[in-house]
Point group: C2
Chain length 338, copies 2
DNA sequence: TTGAAAGCGCTACCAC
DNA sequence: GTGGTAGCGCTTTCAA
């Protein structure tokens, strides 16, 4: 069990001062006109003993950790994990590390997590915010830490965020179903007031209204996928007239597929299906499922670049940036009658 | 932009010493016989100003961070993300935080990541090790940090690890195919020397040998899922006689399903299929795919508990613990002819 | 019962 | 060009 080596040991060993070593290590040798041979001697030695400065101590001193906290709803959801990986890759190139966690969309857990991150002095945050977290975000902002919201925003507070055009996407997807001859189109969503869900709902409503069709919205109280399946199953039994369903999220659609499969409902003949959020399963399912695909790498790219630019300048713009990226409708077999 | 409050501010404000505040905050008031009213006064004030000790400073001082580094192959793989979430939940209850990352099974990246974690002074590691990382793990162990390997182990070094019984699982799965009348069973795996892959291969080989059947192993050079699909496709064209495939990992199976679907091969009539690692897709695919399911929560539980027990005792056992958990064969429709 | 002070490893200001 | 040293916020020993 070797003891960790410190800058002190280096300095002592080489017979120079700590300051000199520190400058050399931080690339300020030129600026400080430290002789090349000394620089080389120090660097060689550092290499030899495999010395790594303690980022703990450095952070304590500088007040910067080079860590970005990323909080998504569920890291095992392919949509979020794709974003996480993309963000990590870009941040990495700029010398930032990402630590991530899942909020499970629970306000209390998110609050604790924010506390944990702030304790750890992360430099900035990228957050998929649950409802009711406004105050905590506000506090963060006031403490001078940049925050970028993704996937959804908090109407009550002004923040940087990057989202997709949920309303238009839902509008287009609904129209696609209508264009393919479906008339009794249900919108299955979660019982949540999150703005991105409201926007999707509103897109559906507008499309239906524009075409003079009756609206049918089913809100699922999502606890487990099992329960969601039950609720959808009951819904299908009650509403026999429904000839298509637009699912507001991928996991709702998965539950829906199970329910429909159990009932031997044939897609797309008996019932048309479109889902929000693409998923590998949707491509391979038979029939393949049409989806509104969100560009995860674009979202990631915008989010991390926005945050990095905030991190760069000490004096931050007062005006918050709202970025909206377009989705694409991927038409597969579940929404086109043969 | 409020300044962060420190223990110093608290002490000054309340007219007591830093020491006293520190003792109270660390629950040592009793032991130090600090008067109850003082304790209350301090606690109330701390509450009021929402003071949180800097874990950075604390870690610097104590040498402990209460952070565990978790390195999996790919956080967006459902198998790994399930493990990650389970580990996180248990660690959390014991006051430990998890920071995770994806190694992409790349030795160099893993090396860097280990360096990063060690810089951050994580207290312990749970690692899914890529090949060639033996030396780095050894260094970690020598520096006194506990390491638990999961999913696979490194034959060259003695370490705690928790794995599944890959050989037996593969043996049983192969026998299951044989029992269902399949004879020309191919084993599709990745071109890797990782022990868990070798064990799966060996299980397949033994089962085939025991039944006097010819062996056919196809190693895929996995780069992208697209390329994997190509290779499997070519393989299927060449080996027309194959009547069943045992896929060594879930992502190989996904690529395989795409390839077979493109060729209109009917499962399970034309070709039987079993895959290692369960996946939501396999349950919903038609036909549903039989799999060897690994108990992710058991793996997670064993791994984190093992690590926590190492963390507890200052003097560690010399003998390393090797935990093997059983898998379960989930028989669905892809491996049973109607 | 409480307080002073050393020091964890590092950066950066100021001296020489 | 290089070195001394204060101090980031905390824990913990020793003294009072």
């Amino acid at each position: 069990m070797k003891k960790k080596i410190s800058i002190n040991d280096i300095a002592k060993e080489l017979g120079v001062s700590i300051t000199t070593v520190s400058f050399i290590l931080n690339g300020r040798a030129q600026e400080k006109r430290i002789s090349e041979k000394l620089v080389k001697r120090v660097l060689d030695f550092v290499q030899e003993v495999n010395y790594k400065p303690s980022s703990l101590a450095r952070s304590l001193r500088t007040g910067k950790t080079n860590i970005i906290g990323l909080m998504v709803e569920d890291i095992s959801d392919p949509f979020f994990s794709a974003i996480a990986r993309a963000i990590e890759a870009i941040a990495y190139q700029s010398g930032y590390k990402i630590i991530y966690c899942s909020t499970e969309n629970a306000t209390e857990k998110t609050r604790e997590l924010i506390g944990m991150y702030s304790e750890r002095h992360v430099d900035g945050y990228i957050i998929v915010p649950p409802e009711g977290i406004e105050q905590d975000i506000k506090l963060l902002l006031e403490s001078g830490k940049p925050v970028v919201l993704i996937d959804r925003y908090l109407p009550a507070i002004e923040t940087d965020h990057v989202v997709v055009d949920n309303e238009k996407s839902a509008y287009d997807a609904t129209c696609h179903l209508i264009d393919n001859g479906y008339k009794d189109i249900a919108f299955v969503t979660i019982d949540s007031l999150q703005p991105q869900m409201q926007d999707r709902l509103s897109g559906y409503e507008k499309a239906m209204a524009a075409n003079g069709l009756p609206q049918l919205v089913k809100e699922i109280a999502y606890k487990t996928s099992e329960q969601a399946m039950q609720q959808i199953s009951v819904f299908l039994d009650r509403k026999r007239g429904v000839d298509a369903i637009f699912f507001a999220t991928n996991y709702l659609c998965v539950s829906g597929l199970k329910a429909m499969s159990a009932k031997n409902l044939h897609i797309p003949q008996n019932i048309g299906v479109v889902s929000f959020d693409d998923y590998e399963l949707f491509e391979l399912y038979s029939p393949s499922i049409s989806t509104v695909s969100q560009p995860t790498d674009k979202i990631a790219e915008h989010a991390i670049n926005l945050l990095l630019s905030r991190l760069k300048k000490t004096v931050s713009d007062k005006v918050s940036k709202k970025i909206v990226v377009p989705t694409s409708l991927i038409i597969r077999n579940s929404s086109v009658k043969k």
